[in-house]
Symmetry: C2
Subunit: 456 residues, 2 copies
């Protein structure tokens, strides 16, 4: 009967310490989301397959986990399909539901389904797991949390301004200094492609450009040439490969380059608006930069594009990103609903905080005081103190058995419990408790009030 | 392309107000679990099918949601199985993973898998969704949260005492008065069956007894007779149908009845121990009672059985329950690991708090202050105040567009935002903000500090 227990590849068990640390990040996100007026929603873990399929491209469709229909599911399969023995064809007849692949499509579905109950503009946040049948590898899991904040029903650029401030507020609260919010705008990328006569090659152009920090200028030029972008065109765009200086200086360069592109100029205007507001309001921790090579999910975004880099020196890709998409809910029949949103990469932020030792001690504090159990009467005496401590909000426990002293002390030690209480007949007679600091070994005799004071 | 969006039956979208209220309950649980020394763990949403199948009986197996293998899954199916066109047989060849059905089996799996990292006794809590392919009906969902606290690796009855205190602490914090924690013990049920010579009919006996409050004494007697329990035996057990009085008085009656059963006497002793400790320590809100008809998942529990009833007058089944099971991890090969645990019914507690109007206002408070947007300059002026308010922990927003005043006021109204700020040229000149109470209509001109003070 005994099975060697394991979990599916790409999934994780989280230990108490990990859960407490993850919750520390999640609580910081929640607090800031709510402070900025975002309201939480939650959607089901599985959606009707028709809601998800076709929304993420062919590759996405393949990576969606499908749920088998219950009961005698083969009963409903047509003979023709069954005989074809084609997995794809069979799937649609034996599976009607699928696990959430991201939070954006379910959010769009939610907005359309509940449009009559929602007061727009609607700012929502959502922190829930998603599932992808990706090949698991270091840092890539089949189940992971997404933490998204989006605003729909407003095309005001003040939303973008607020998102930069939100990043700033969260990373400040997490004590994470040196993060960089990079911004770009789809209209600038379109303008550049248009200006060099490669408007029809926008995707190829931006995909190549996006690789600048990985493959260098030479590599980018090579890839563009391969894709049929002319040498002359590339020459015109070369200034952006080495653009330096402040946000405003980069904008100046772009203004020269994009002087003939209406779209490009609009992109510049939008970025200028956002940067001016942020400069007037100030940021606490985060730096804002313009990165003209930034593309991310280009097909998706129609305006602003955001990406956050971890502090220099920490080897980690982006720890957040987002952008504006002018037609979020069109796929579900609600047109002209502009949305803009950002997400926070929980797993990566976790690794960065861990690497930099930034988890505060109180984020992972468990039980702080263990009462040693010397037997029936002593246990009851201790339980009364335990109760008073809990009433005062202090986590305390009594060891459940009158086990050997050594075993109980070792239990406290292994669980990193800082204090133990030793209370025997003598203490009971005097209505005191002997409090011992596990680290220093120091002991003192105190009343219940003294215990509360010592641990507060 | 447009689809009418919907969600699978038995699942739910949660609106902002619902999420905030659910989180209020969950945070109260978390806080108390941690106060009592329980540590959080999280396990994957899906487990290997072999971990779950066969653990919940045939009916359970049917209700487990299976996940279809990815890719060309039919490739691995044997010809023989495929030809049989038998759903059950095919499932095991096209599905290797299944969604979590409860939190207990994954916890047992976790304990065995991580036994070398865990310091025992191990007290864990876990708050995560589970999925069941049950027929959806009022109050029964296909996706719902379980909130469990369990202690493994200790057979001390002080664990049971702590669980009664934990129920008391949680319901006190939730402001829910009048809940009743009913206790029983499997050994008492065994003792009764033994005493009346129906030890071989323990399940039939307890299943019938468990229905006392639904079908009455007559119904129970009838069912017992049907199951082959003799009239004489039933006569001997009849006193327990109408047992009244205090916990201790009920124990006295049982002592008489079970005088010849060693098992029964042990059950009495255990309950007496727990009751004595609880009487010495006192409870704040919860009442503790002995309910000799309480059976719950009898096959599962080996000692204490808990169940919590909502306050009288609220029509709701149990809002929590649990018990002791002497061999939690045996199914995964780790023997003699006693466990005892309780769970809280999140959905039902939600309904009870809602019915009794017990959700505190601050549990659902969203944005408290909306700045009306009169245009570019005014917006920036307001954003500076918004930032100061957020720094002070006050949720404030600026309406993103300079829309018509009426529209903006209506937005504040629909979102139940209590205050708006009106700040035009005059306010800017004087460095003040006009704060308006949406309910009373009262207005006052205040500085940023004044805003913070008014909203603190």
């Amino acid at each position: 009967m005994a099975q060697k227990p394991s979990i599916p590849k790409g999934t994780r068990d989280f230990s108490p310490e990990e859960v407490l640390r993850r919750n520390y990040i999640i609580n910081t996100l929640r607090h800031n989301f709510e402070l900025f007026g975002f309201q939480p929603i939650e959607t089901p873990s599985f959606e009707n397959s028709s809601t998800l399929m076709g929304k993420y491209g062919d590759e996405g469709d393949r990576l969606i986990f499908k749920i088998l229909n219950s009961g005698d599911y083969l009963n409903k399969v047509s003979e023709k399909t069954y005989e074809s023995k084609d997995s794809n064809a069979l799937t649609s007849e034996i599976s009607e539901k699928a696990l959430r692949y991201d939070l954006t499509v379910p959010f769009a579905r939610y907005v359309v389904q509940h449009q009559n109950e929602i007061e727009f503009p609607f700012k929502r946040y959502q922190i829930q797991p998603v599932w992808r049948a990706d090949r698991p590898q270091k840092g890539r899991f089949r189940e992971f949390f997404q933490c998204d904040a989006d605003a729909v029903g407003s095309d005001s650029l003040l939303q973008e301004v607020a998102f930069v401030q939100l990043y700033d507020s969260v990373f400040t609260d997490l004590g994470l200094k040196g993060t960089l919010v990079k911004m770009n705008n789809r209209k600038i990328l379109s303008g550049l492609a248009e200006t060099i006569g490669a408007a029809d090659k926008l995707i190829d152009f931006t995909v190549a450009l996006d690789k600048l920090d990985k493959i260098g200028e030479e590599g980018v030029v090579k890839e563009m040439l391969t894709k049929g972008i002319t040498e002359e065109a590339i020459e015109r765009v070369k200034p952006i490969f080495n653009v330096n200086g402040s946000f405003a200086e980069k904008l100046s360069l772009l203004k020269e380059l994009l002087v003939d592109s209406e779209t490009g100029k609009q992109g510049i205007e939008e970025l200028e608006y956002i940067n001016t507001k942020i400069e007037a309001l100030g940021l606490k921790t985060v730096a804002l930069d313009l990165d003209v090579t930034l593309a991310r999910g280009l097909n998706y975004y129609t305006g602003a594009i955001f990406e956050v880099s971890a502090p220099e020196g920490v080897k980690m890709g982006s720890i957040g990103g987002g952008g504006r998409y002018d037609d979020l809910t069109g796929i579900f029949g609600l047109k002209n609903m502009s949305g803009v949103g950002i997400s926070f990469g929980l797993d990566r932020i976790y690794l960065v905080l861990e690497e930099l030792g930034l988890f505060p001690e109180q984020a992972i504090k468990g039980t702080r005081l263990l009462f040693i159990n010397f037997g029936e009467n002593e246990a009851l005496y201790c339980l009364k103190a335990v109760q008073s401590l809990r009433d005062a909000g202090i986590t305390a426990e009594l060891y459940p058995d009158a086990a050997k002293m050594k075993k109980q002390m070792s239990h406290a030690d292994k669980r990193n419990i800082k204090f133990v209480v030793l209370a025997g007949t003598q203490e009971m007679e005097e209505s005191v408790y002997t409090l011992k600091d596990m680290k220093s070994g120091e002991q003192q005799r105190v009343s219940i009030e003294g215990l509360i004071e010592a641990l507060s």
